[in-house]
Structures are given as structure tokens and as C-alpha cells.
């Protein structure tokens, strides 16, 4: 099998920010999700945000949107990309997307979905992945006093389009 090299290293194996000078400027979209597992008490605390006892998801949504702006700060070899739109949503999963890894009682699962758009020479997968991660981390932060065992599961790219590598759809 011919070895495929990550484009983030040059021929001698040194890290570089990939030269995108010659790439085409095209419209690009990426969507990523992160799933947070939590106990019943934490889930109840979030749901009550609707009744204004503290809106965890409003905070997490804002954190995710602003998180997209920090992607190139966090990920060393990322280009800074002009982000043209961000949407963040949340959905309770009736059935676990990922089985509990320790045989414990079932937990509530909340999925964070972030969609990011740009018109640039390189894509926004990392911005979407970072947004979903930051949403999940913020939820953990706000509820860790209620359930310190919360886990972030299955952070992953769901969709991307635009650019030379074309469509990716899970």
C-alpha cells in the first residue's frame, strides 16, 4: 500500500501551513455534531432553561458561534478563514447514539449541531468541528456541578461540500 502523507507536513516531514495560494475561491459548507451524555438531573436542568431557570443552551450556542472565530488560534496549522455564517442547534436523542461505555444506567443524550459557511480557498470542517466541541464543553462547564461524569461522545463531521475534494456526507 502506497503511504498517504498528511498535507500538513512537507516532504522531509516538517510541519507547515499548507500553501493554498493557487486554490479556487468557492462556496463551502461544513456541519459537525457532538453528543453530550448526562444524568437525569443535568438533563432536567437544561430543559428547564426553557422556563427561564437558566438557559444553558443559549450560552452554549453563543460559545459555539464565537468558537468558530478561534479555530485558527486553537489548531496550529489551520488557515484563518472568513466565516460567513454559523448556525447552531440542539436536539435531544430519544435513543442513545452511542451506548454507554461502562454498563451504567442509560443517560440522556443531547446532540449539538454546528453548520459553518465560507467562500474561500479552503474549507470549514475544522470550524464546524470546533464549534460543536465548544458547545459541548460549555454544556459540561455549566452543569459539572450537577453531574461531573458527563461525557462528550462522537464529535464528528457530518457533511461538507464545496472545494476540490467535493461532497462528504455521512
Amino acid at each position: 500500500m502506497a503511504m498517504q502523507r498528511s498535507t500538513h507536513f512537507d516532504e522531509s516531514g516538517q510541519a507547515q501551513m499548507v500553501d493554498v495560494t493557487a486554490k479556487s475561491i468557492t462556496a463551502r459548507t461544513a456541519t459537525a455534531t457532538a453528543v453530550v451524555s448526562m444524568n437525569a438531573q443535568a438533563a432536567q436542568s437544561i430543559r428547564q432553561g426553557d422556563s427561564r431557570k437558566g438557559d444553558v443552551l443559549a450560552v452554549a450556542r453563543l460559545a459555539a458561534i464565537t468558537g468558530t472565530k478561534w479555530t485558527s488560534t486553537l489548531i496550529p496549522l489551520c488557515h484563518a478563514i472568513p466565516i460567513e455564517g454559523v448556525e447552531v442547534g440542539f436536539q435531544w436523542l430519544d435513543e442513545p447514539a452511542a451506548p454507554s461505555t461502562e454498563g451504567t444506567t442509560p443517560t440522556s443524550l443531547l446532540r449539538c449541531t454546528a453548520t459553518v459557511k465560507t467562500t474561500y480557498k479552503t474549507g470549514v470542517e475544522m470550524e464546524a468541528m470546533t464549534a460543536a466541541s465548544v458547545a459541548a464543553l460549555t454544556i459540561y462547564d455549566m452543569l459539572k456541578s450537577v453531574d461531573r461524569s458527563m461525557e462528550i461522545r462522537q464529535t464528528r463531521l457530518e457533511h461538507k461540500d464545496g472545494g476540490k475534494s467535493g461532497l462528504f456526507q455521512r
Copy 2:
């Protein structure tokens, strides 16, 4: 069951940065992990970093260390904490820590572990969680051209000590 409120909201449900003025300054430690699943080609690409074909883990380790410094930027209600030490390690898991969620063929699993220390009024759980997440996101970034289906699984707190809430050990 009496409802437990997240401390990040005041009595009327408004977000706040929790007042820690009166808390004691104590030594605190937190450890978090994130597990990345990837296909064989991506795993091979990382392992070859040892032979200087591009050291993915060295980049991810640095990203995780510097990521701890951005925690209070990413997480809206986090205090900025004087971080006094960070260690980041990686370990290949022979057996999957999390079963594949879609019945696909087994994948390689790499665990990122971040330990953060401070001497302050509040703990570094979020710094450790952020470091582990950034390590995993950086690995995804560097290898997404090889395997765009990589997933980050099971980001979670493993250990914390110090402070009023005391020891947490999974």
C-alpha cells in the same frame, strides 16, 4: 427531588461569572481524556511520526498545551486561571474503549490524556477538558485528508483533586 441549580446562573436564571472571591487558594489538579478513532491508514501515518515522516502527536501535544491558555476565551463563564503545569500524553488502545456506533469494521483508537495544575480559588477541569479536545481536534485536522470519517469519542474528566468539592476519580 429538589432541583439542583447550575451555579452559573443567579436566582433569576441569568448567566453570571460565579463569585469566587471568598474561596480558598489551594493546589488543584485535573486530568481529562479524549479518544480518537481512525482507519488503519491514518493510524499508520501517526505511528510513522516516530520515524520523522511528520510528527502528528508533537503538533497535537503543543496545541493541547497552548489550548489550556485559551479555555477562558472559549468557555464564556470560565474564570481565567493561572496554569502552573500541563502534561499531555498519547496511548494506543489495543481494545476499543468505545464500540463503533455504526457497526463498521474496527478502527484504531488513540487516547489523548491531559493533566493540568494550578494553585487557585477554582479548579482546572475545563482546562484539562479543553486540552484533550484540542489535541483530538488537531489530530483530526492533520489527518482529515487521509480519513475524513475520524471521530472524537468519549471526551471526559478522569480525575480531579483539590478544592471544596474534593476528589473525583472515575
Copy 3:
């Protein structure tokens, strides 16, 4: 009258970050306010946030809290201060705190109040002033498509205590 010199300049008039090495670490609090004037339509849009048509004040509150963390980035000679607590509130003023400066019809006035706490060698007036300003700027940003003529009026320190200069109360 003997001329009083700003402490941010040395004897030859050069800017400096004031040396606070020898100052005492004490608990300090500061409160600042900013008043935003707007037309009836913009005011209605904010009030409807309570009924979940878009919660402008939740966004402004978070922006103000995170804004405190950027104070020493924005204000060149400010020290970076360990912020230990932030509260942000909003209040509609029945009677204008500041008369309209152009003889136009009366507008609605919304007051943003930010209180910041630290235990450090220097105070948090600038953090409170910045938080109130950022709250007001965020409100302007979110409603400028409704009323581009909105104004921020009367951003000022209301209260400070702690430190050598002692209590300030308007």
C-alpha cells in the same frame, strides 16, 4: 494650581504600565453603567426576548461577561487582572437619564449595569466600564437593522471600593 500627572506616564512623559509590585492585595469591586437609547420598535424587539423571539439581553449579558476578560487587551496600559466574579443586569428607565440631544421625540432608555470583583493589587474599574460598554455595543449590533440611530449614553463608573484610593460612590 499644581498640575496633577496621570500615573500612566513617567516623569519624562513616556507611557508606562504602572508598577504595582508594592501595592497590597485587597478585595476590590467596581460597578459601571451604560445607557442605550432606542426607538419604540427596537425596545419592543428587546422586550419580546422574554417571549423567546430572540433574547437580545442574554447575548449582551454574555458579551459583557466575556468582555471583562478582554479589558487588558483593549486598554493598552491596563494590567491583566484575575477577575473573580461578574454580574450584569439590565433595567428599563421610565424617565430618560439623559435628555435627547437633538430635540427628537422621546426614546426608550435601557441601562446596562456591570459589577466586577477581584482580589488583587489594582482595581477593576476598567473591567466594569468595558463590560458596560460591550453590553451596549452588542445591543446596538443586534438592533441596528431596526434602529440605526440608537445611541450609547452616559457610560460611567457608579461605584468602586477596595484599594488605597478607597470608596467612590456617585
Copy 4:
């Protein structure tokens, strides 16, 4: 009256970064002002900057210019915009632009004016507003040891042109 919705919320009232993908790239300019009121001693301290006893306005000007670069960090739903030019000026107002709100003796009024330019899909009103605010906050910071009662008054947009919404002139 049909309710006008802020574009920063989607149809269900959730915050978003507005999608500007389809907007035209055009030259855009925005000018904003902030007025600072201060006592005679503080005003004298600034004026003496000309004679090199400490140049408050040079510091405030630089803070305002660099402040434009932090706009999308401070204002959660702002796009990061490629800023192509910034000018900052100061003018003493012989007659108060805003009457004192508390019946106190007349104060000196200094107006900070910031003009920002871009060629992009969305405008630079917030960059101009932020620059004017940061100039005023920096002046407050440098002279608060001389006059802690200084106020920032009447931060507002004076002019914008370019883009779909066209010309705004006060």
C-alpha cells in the same frame, strides 16, 4: 404594526451569525463618535500632551485603531471583517454636545471620531463604534486618577455608506 425582527436571530428566536454568503463585496465606510466629559484638570492634562507631559491622545488613538481588530471578538455575532483603513481624530467641543445630566458645573467635552473602511460583504459600523468606545475608555483609564467622575456620552454612528442598506448620515 408588523414586528421587525433582528437579523441576528433565526425564525425560532435562536442567535446565529447571519449568513452573508450571497451578499455583494462592495466598498464600505463607517464613522462613529464618542464624547468624553471631564473636569478642567483632566482636560488640562490632555492638552499638555502637546507639550510632551504625556500624550494621552496618542495612546487613545492607537488603542482605537487596534480596537477595530478586536470587534468580532467582543461582539458575539459580528463577522470578522478585513479592515482596510482606520483614522481616528479628536476635537474639543466649545459647547457641550450633551448637557450634563446632573446639573453640575459645565465640564470639558472631547469628541473621539473613528472612520473605518473595508471592501467586504458586510459593513464596518461595529468596528467604528468599537473604535470610538475604546478611544473613550482609554482616555478614562489614563485620567481616572485625576477625575474618576469622567463620563462617556453619546457614542453613536455618524455615517455609513456602501452595501445594500445604503447611506446613513446623521
Copy 5:
């Protein structure tokens, strides 16, 4: 001799961010170098990085790449530029590029070279100069416990092309 004015000041001598609105978008490249002098022990410590006793140059390379993203934060009147590619290399100089300034025994000299690319209205000289400086500062940081007398010498632009001012080659 007619006096040439820096473009960073307007006609009255006030600092400004130069208006580049009307400039052409062209491909631009810049290369800068910094030379670090160190004693034999520090040099040995770096060379052993190849044998995985701690890879100083891998850390310095990453710091230089990410340093390019901070240029407009560090340099007050710099425009934020969309960086499209960064390469960083290191070379041991057999013969000193700069003679020791104090008549001490010869030291080892290591040259850091950074090349930055953009397609924009203004050039990336400052990004290349900043990258080379940050590489050198990082090397100093990592080895100052071994040789606190290390010096950074001869940071300078080696090459630039693109834009109205055309080619510069040392």
C-alpha cells in the same frame, strides 16, 4: 533632501492604519531570517532533538507558524492579512553570520528562515519578520536554562515580491 514620511502617519503626524482600499489584490511572498547564537551545550541540546531527547526546533517551527497569525495583534498599524501558506526552516551556520559583539569565544549560530504567502492588497513582510522572531524567541525560551546568554542576531527581511513596490532581494 526631501524628507520621506512613513506612510503610517497622516499629514499632521497622527498614526493611522493606512487605507489600502484602492490597492490591487496580488500574490505576495516574503522571507525573513533570524540568527540565534548559543554556546556549545545549547547547540548540542538542539541537535539531540533529532534523536528525540526533546525536539526544540519542532516547537519553534510551530510557534513561528502560529506567530504569523498574531502579527496584526502585535504590530499596532498592521492590517490583518489572510495568510495562505507558511514554511519555516532551520540551518546551522558553519561560519558566524554575525561576529560576536563582545570578543568572546565563538558560538554556534542557528538561522531560522520563515516564508509567508498571501493574495491580498498589502504584503506579508511583517508576518515573515514576526515568524522569524518568534522562532528565535521560542528557542531562547526553551534553552535559557542551559545558556541564558543566547542572543538573537540579525533579524531581517531577505526577500519580498508582489505588490506595487515590487521585488526586494538582499
Copy 6:
């Protein structure tokens, strides 16, 4: 000769942020300098700053002061340190501190000196080195349109005291 290991790597050669938990909090000072060489025209342009044709050194001084706050962002393994005071000065050198490296005609030499203070567990050498570097880079930026061949020479630590390693004086 027994090999001395940089403290920024652990025993297996992996980068880490050094654990300073157990170190004593003491007053610490560091002073660093950077020397900029330039042609006569550039030097004249700076000197005329005194007569208000554009004050290059005022901009460079502010950039250096704010640069100290970015040190831990730029240098990956640096701790974020509470900076308690910064002074930045400039001095023309009548005689070159560093001989021209290319046999060209003598140039003017300007020395930037930065002194930084803290009371913390680790020192501020890197903050002083970064401040001196940023001052020099800013001077280059502002005058590169006048003399693109300017060089930064001899950035180095001049003095440090406080902490376990004690006094360093060149």
C-alpha cells in the same frame, strides 16, 4: 560532559509546560534590549517624531508594553504571568553596538530597552525579550517604506533578578 536537558521536555523528550506549583512567589525583574540598524533617512524620520511629524517611538513603546501581555500566546510553553509593571526606553547609540555584517557604510543604531516586573513563581525574561522584539518589529514596520534593509540586531537579556536562579547581569 553530562548533558543538561531543557526543562521544557520531560524525561522521554516530550514537550510540557513545566510544573511550577511548588516554586516560591517572589519579586522578579528582567530587562532585555534589541538594537535596530537603519539608514540615515529612517533615523531622521524617527528623530523628527519629537517635532510631531509622526512619533514612531511612541507607537513602538505602546506595542512593546502590550506585547508583554501576548508573551504566553506567542511562546508555546510559557506560563501566563501577572505582569505588574513595564517600562520601555529608547537610546541612540553613537557607536555601533554590533558591527555591520556586510561591510556596508555605517548605519544609525537605536537601542530599545524593556524592563518587566512581576511577583510570581517564575520569571519574566521572555516578557522582556518579547517586548524588546516587538518594539523593534514595530519600528521596522513603520519605516520599512523608507528603508526596507533595516535589521534587528542583538536582541538579548541584559539583567534578571529574583527567583531560584538568582541574578543574571551581562
